[in-house]
């Protein structure tokens, strides 16, 4: 006879590893966050981050002793080999090269661990929050850079080797600024927060402060970024004919008109019939999206481990 309440077998941990913050969340069997904690990302070697994850796991377990995690998930800010659980590289965490993160954390926590990139994990959270009515959407984060993920027929679309979603490298201007990928005019160097900071000569991370100070150049640059982004989305939507685009990330928070401006540009630039069938909405999950999605990703791992 089960000593635990039904569904508790699915309690999981989720970690969202960012350039500045590391967030951990403990999810109960019903998919609710019962405890979470955020710390500054430890500098230096990956081993220090894995130590910090283990410490966070112990602290969350102490705070919610009735909820016993059976698996953990991680969102990593870079390229991931999902099948092998390896963090391949990151422009944000430059020390990370081919780190077998899932295996190393699994050893520490004595739990199965699922690894994917942070935007894929956040898209899983958005999918869960939006429920069964939204089975097909493009998920976009607009922050320092631009990341993306596709949810198709209710599931995250991994693509070959789990690499799908790099809409930040959709080029909209063959004569545009150079991108780290080697091409010109990628939307990630045209319409991201980092791109606006470079255009306006702001310090790295200075966009939020400039927006809060009411700098009129920021308002104009955000409007231009939204228009460029809508144009890139029009190209993607002409191909995919998705009924929904969800936009999250720090830049969206800076101007309440941003998402509507993206939608207007998408509808102007897409084929009329396709644009009319698509809407753009702000992400419903907030800063905890990555950790929540990672914990949801871990459920699949917990289930296959118990079979």
């Amino acid at each position: 006879m089960p000593a635990e309440p039904l569904g508790m077998a699915d309690a999981t941990l989720g970690f969202d590893l960012g350039g500045t913050k590391l967030l951990a969340a403990l999810l109960d069997g019903a998919g609710r966050i019962v405890a979470q904690q955020r710390i500054a990302t430890p500098d230096g070697a990956p081993a220090r981050v894995i130590d910090a994850m283990a410490t966070l796991a112990a602290e969350l377990a102490a705070r919610a002793p009735a909820v016993v995690a059976r698996a953990a998930g991680i969102g990593f800010p870079g390229l991931v080999d999902v099948a092998r659980g390896v963090a391949r590289s990151s422009v944000i965490l430059r020390e990370w090269r081919e780190v077998p993160l899932a295996a190393q954390l699994s050893q520490r926590l004595r739990l199965p661990v699922a690894l994917d990139n942070d935007v894929h994990q956040a898209a899983r959270a958005e999918r869960a929050v939006r429920g069964a009515a939204e089975r097909d959407f493009l998920f976009l984060t607009v922050g320092t850079g631009i990341g993306g993920a596709l949810v198709l027929r209710g599931e995250l679309w991994p693509g070959a080797e789990g690499l799908a979603g790099e809409i930040g490298h959709l080029s909209v201007d063959r004569d545009g600024p150079e991108c780290a990928c080697g091409r010109r005019g990628c939307i990630g160097v045209v319409a991201s927060g980092g791109a606006i900071e470079r255009q306006l000569g702001l310090a790295k991370g200075g966009l939020a402060a400039a927006a809060a100070a009411g700098d009129p150049r920021v308002t104009a640059a955000l409007a231009e970024a939204a228009a460029a982004l809508g144009g890139a989305l029009a190209s993607a939507i002409n191909l995919l004919a998705l009924p929904l685009v969800v936009v999250g990330g720090g830049v969206v928070e800076l101007d309440g008109r941003f998402v509507a401006a993206v939608e207007a540009a998408l509808r102007r630039d897409a084929m009329a019939e396709i644009g009319a069938a698509t809407r753009v909405e702000r992400a419903r999950c907030g800063y905890e999206a990555g950790a929540l999605g990672a914990a949801l990703h871990a459920r699949g791992v917990a289930r296959s481990a118990s079979e």
Copy 2:
């Protein structure tokens, strides 16, 4: 006890309606074309085309009396409302506006009829010919214009209202030539056969003759088109991370190096990891792809009608 051989219940008819030709094919239960016939597309009102389809069906039935079609499929060169079986509009067949084609042909043939656009149907044929190993690919036709279709997890991806696949309206150059969709620099007006004819001042449909005559400007224009197309595909593949792009259509036939040039440009422009995981191949189905795919599409209709 069944009087017919096993599988015969799935014999179907397929029609590929083009601007100049109308092709009909009769498929047996094993998915083989047992008879086909091609005529010039009748001018004028849609009713004349529907008459011609009924005549073709009778002729194929007379040529292969042992194979009794249980349903028919149609590929239409334009926008289609798949759910209602309506041909909405076409830049190739301008008389066609909101024609309930599936219902009208169904009444004539006394069979269930499935309707989709011609590129979706051709992608279904390519999927069938390539077999189970190729479950995920982007299908592309480069002819007078550029059309596309996605096969994801083994199935055609319809998109909202069946409109997916319009990769011809992926813009690669914000200062490029104007497209009928209202935008600039769509790949369909940059790298299609029609675009090359306009660039070189050739007559409509004159590209094939110029290529056959060895016009060196054609060779250069085809190389440029392949490079632009590879760049557009790089943007699409960065988002979708598909392992395969299949390219067919008349332009591909003009220069044996075209597909390899598209692949080279895709790999140069895509993110390194994603480009390395993608290959570009020439379509295996030839001019009968649309009719074959339409007949395959009809199988699903035949099955649900017999349940």
